[in-house]
Subunit: 453 residues, 3 copies
């Protein structure tokens, strides 16, 4: 198992992001399809195609969009805006156009960011047929008035919406959902970081080859319409989701942010907060709000799933968001690796969060004669012994290991190790309703698998 080290993990994640970066993805079309096929090389992924026009709840799967080229040429025939140089230059989902017109007529179709005059914005028009170009403000200012040739060589035609699904069955039919959107073109933090970390996490689970308690479902989907499509077609599976996270913007070096599920006190919310507080610096836990990523859909009132959203920088709050500055330099190998470790550790908490019963509940059992205590009295005790005392005290069948970790302020891992030791010593047993979970064998974030950075 000792085949990866943290540096290597980070480098591999970044290399994977770099491979996916140039592809012009959108919510449908060959860009996302090609992306899913590359992911399929790493993990068992079913690629699902849903035809244009399919009704999904209140929505309809749109026409498929593909693009070959797009430019604005000046009167000399020079490309002054060129899709082939950066796929952000074309308003995503632009309808085809090929015409000559004066700059004054083009202007309403141009998007730039005056505050960051060197950056190209990322803009979309999925559901209102339109065309447009995004360009740096300096580019825009440099355009003289006059006639230009505008061309967007795209197609909007019946086709299908593509998404990828990786299902890894566990002992239980209860599921953990990891979801990320795969519809953004050349943007790194949003959302190649989520894509690459989710892929690596699924791969670790596959490679562990372990008999996990939960079944796992990884979704690589176009934002909003993809989540809606999946939920509309998988209401039974949705009903089996016990915990879930949307992964996005987890490659930059900002501190972590976790946005709680609509429920606000779900096990995933507490597990994420616990892990972040022990593994990372100054994490911030955000209350649920209905705007954001696909947790919007998973947490809609008809579903109300326990799905939160893990981020480093929060979408919309960093200047590089939805611009060409969210590039491969903006995400860092060690940050990607740390995010992977956080995710794996959260899964470990969920996998192992049983309730136990102290088999010697009247007074403390004599740990000393079992070699579970210090021998010379009068001095203070170590965290490991403290964890045993907490477990014995709180294991009345009501408190989960996470409850105990929270109350004791000890890391879950320390509590779990103590629980294993006390079980070996017949001082603790799993509470009856958790009996089926006795044989959870693996730690996803085991130090040899996902080394700390």
């Amino acid at each position: 198992m000792d085949r990866v080290d943290s540096t290597a993990t980070g480098r591999e994640l970044h290399r994977f992001a770099a491979e996916l970066y140039p592809i012009c993805r959108s919510i449908t079309g060959d860009g996302i399809r090609q992306t899913l096929k590359i992911i399929q090389q790493r993990i068992p992924l079913e690629i699902v195609e849903v035809p244009s026009g399919t009704s999904v709840f209140d929505w309809t799967v749109p026409k498929e969009w593909n693009i070959r080229d797009g430019y604005i040429k000046d009167s000399s025939g020079r490309r002054v805006v060129d899709f082939l140089k950066c796929n952000l230059h074309v308003l995503n989902y632009s309808a085809p156009i090929h015409a000559k017109m004066p700059l004054s007529e083009i202007r309403p179709h141009l998007f730039s960011i005056p505050a960051h005059p060197d950056w190209i914005p990322y803009r979309t028009s999925y559901y209102k047929e339109d065309w447009g170009f995004c360009l740096s403000h300096n580019q825009l200012l440099a355009l003289p008035e006059g006639d230009y040739e505008v061309c967007i060589d795209s197609t909007l035609a019946d086709g299908s919406l593509s998404y990828g699904e990786c299902f890894l069955p566990g002992q239980s039919s209860d599921e953990i959902l990891i979801s990320c959107h795969a519809c953004h073109p050349s943007l790194a933090n949003d959302n190649l970081s989520g894509l690459t970390v989710a892929t690596a996490l699924a791969r670790i689970l596959v490679e562990c080859n372990a008999n996990f308690h939960y079944s796992y479902r990884f979704l690589f989907i176009p934002g909003t319409i993809g989540a809606i499509t999946w939920l509309a077609r998988n209401r039974d599976a949705a009903a089996r989701i016990r915990h879930g996270m949307v992964l996005t913007c987890i490659g930059d070096k900002a501190r972590f942010h976790y946005k709680k599920s609509r429920r606000g006190d779900a096990e995933i919310d507490r597990a994420a907060a616990h892990v972040l507080s022990h593994l990372t610096e100054a994490p911030e836990i955000l209350e649920f709000s209905p705007y954001g990523y696909d947790e919007r859909q998973y947490c809609s009132p008809g579903f109300d799933l326990a799905v939160g959203c893990l981020m480093r920088s929060v979408w919309g709050s960093f200047p590089e968001y939805h611009t060409s500055a969210d590039n491969l330099n903006f995400i860092e190998p060690k940050c990607l690796a740390e995010s992977l470790r956080v995710c794996a550790t959260i899964l470990d908490v969920l996998e192992n969060n049983g309730r136990y019963r102290n088999l010697s509940p009247f007074c403390e059992p004599q740990l000393g004669r079992r070699g579970l205590y210090r021998t010379t009295g009068g001095d203070s005790i170590a965290n490991e012994i403290n964890a045993r005392l907490w477990l014995l005290n709180l294991s009345d069948g009501e408190n989960s290991l996470l409850d105990i970790a929270e109350r004791s302020r000890l890391p879950f891992e320390t509590i779990l190790e103590a629980a294993d030791l006390l079980r070996e010593n017949s001082l603790l047993e799993l509470a009856p309703e958790a009996k089926g979970r006795e044989e959870v064998p693996a730690k996803v974030a085991h130090k040899n698998v996902v080394p700390s950075s």
Copy 2:
């Protein structure tokens, strides 16, 4: 409806206070009776007379007090203390007296405030028969020893206690109570501010001529004994009170204070806190305590009504309290107008605080095709759109609009406007138990009725 502007509203409130200021009110007698008649010129007010000697719970309606004159004359016959100059000079409810006596005998009957030597204190002796004079400390210090003529030309005789009641029926028999005391003589903030704002609020409701959900009851009563008398005689009506506020000290320029009801988490408590936090600067929410104004009676354990107390300065905590410095200069037109606006906005919250059901609860409905979303993606969204998302997300029949306003930190009005829009678009309906409230038509604090100052 555009007939008032904020400046005019404030000026009219202050003018009304000035009209009432000179009257020597007490808990019974012609002063309060005359005050109620002036209020009656503005709103439909029933003036109720309850005979002296009537038992009201543990209390008895006292004899009626009336006063024509009161003075202390020095040996030269000059009035050194003169009721006709300021009605605070006589200890309120003083028994009649006419005698000559040396200053040394008068001293135990004199009240002054050494810390504010120019102000006359306001003191009362309702339930212990006594006589006395209040005067500025400088006046007191200037009195030479010697004989004086003291005269209080008052009567304490069987009569009645007077209070005013304005009842405005709504669709529901559930009531909202607005209560203020009307027993203080020439004091402006305490309590002409409450009197005038309550009158204006009732008048707005009358002029709205709207089919309000709640029935409204405005009480203009003598403090303590008046509330006790009303409650003793109206136990059925008291049982129909769902929300209420005591209004007092709301004319000065201090920030707002709202004292919560005994329950502490009543809808009125949350509505008041919400409105104050959005409309005013740095409001302070105070826990309930059993000392204060007539919320003491409404919140006694036998009633335990959801009645709080709205103030700007808190009684007892400002130096001018219960002194001649609480005069017409101490209250300001724009502060009175702002208090009126706060009250009206609180009523709007209560009137419109329904629970809704999202009719498209599985995933977000497609707001874009209904013109309820922005069209170009990639940028942030406005509060109006955010309010729609919050409503759709939380409208599961359990959360009221106020719940949603609190959780989203958006103003209730923004949430309400979004709810109206979503209902028009068939995306939301009132929860079944609230169906009767579908047609609440009016906003009490509509900007054309009570303009913001």
Copy 3:
């Protein structure tokens, strides 16, 4: 009752500590036995002997340890470490040894504190048979290499474990437990402070000769094994314990710390926090943790008793802890007296914490005609009157006096005095379920019994 003053109380407590200080106590043996006999001179104490080898839950009562002498002699026959000078010098529960050996062989058996080179540590080895010496680090550094004679003239043999129990029956079979450990040798704050204050508290109860509501049980026991032994032999009595405190480290001048019971919101937890906040400076309330003193056993999940721990300095957090510096100079008469007062006041709260019913619950009763209010209105009211209003308002049979004291932020004593007055005036009665408690006559901390320091 006016026979003690605070200075005298403190001096007496310190004198008692000084009497017990020289005795070499351990968890068994003549030291603790002699200590209990001295306590027996002051209060009715049953001394219980439990034979070695008795099974107590998961533990076994160990062999009895006694010691006459212990030393290390250098080659010249001089005692370089001498038990007779300070009983901390011998590792507590050391097995007998008499041998010559080079310093290098003795070293693993020597304990010192390099950070405090003049202090002798206190170390124990109860359950692993071993021998050893504790000495100051300077002593250790001064020992030249070479051969030494080591002698510990101790016995480890079948005998018994001794503990003391003082039971004072009250009206109810419900019990209040006061527990302290009595097994530490020459250490003053830990735990002669607890021993002496517990003894004085029991003596006050005896001398009050009052018909208390609760029965009281005082335990003077060896730490851990003593609590376990008592609990194993007294499960019926344990089931009757309603409130309890472990007393330890309450003689030094640090601010107070109270560690809450496992339940965290038990009446004792709230009573202790309330009393400390009103009687002492900047007390700190600590959450429960399963490490500490005998609350570990009382709060084990099989018992889960409402037992907290009262301390001034917290064990382990002050440098003198478990060293020779925790001597008679480290505890102060006035601190011991203050701790006694705090304990007595907490008992007063528990004894008197009834629930009442306002007999005039509709509006305020007219306090004025009963002489329970001020007579001249218009000014503020005193705490005594405020307490009456709070009691009348909250006495709906649900709120205890402590609930009311907490919500009003008034001292319990002020609330209790107001309750007595209102009962005398037939305005309040004990709620039906508390009727049996009408005649609690005495205040343990009555100012004439335990004067404030």
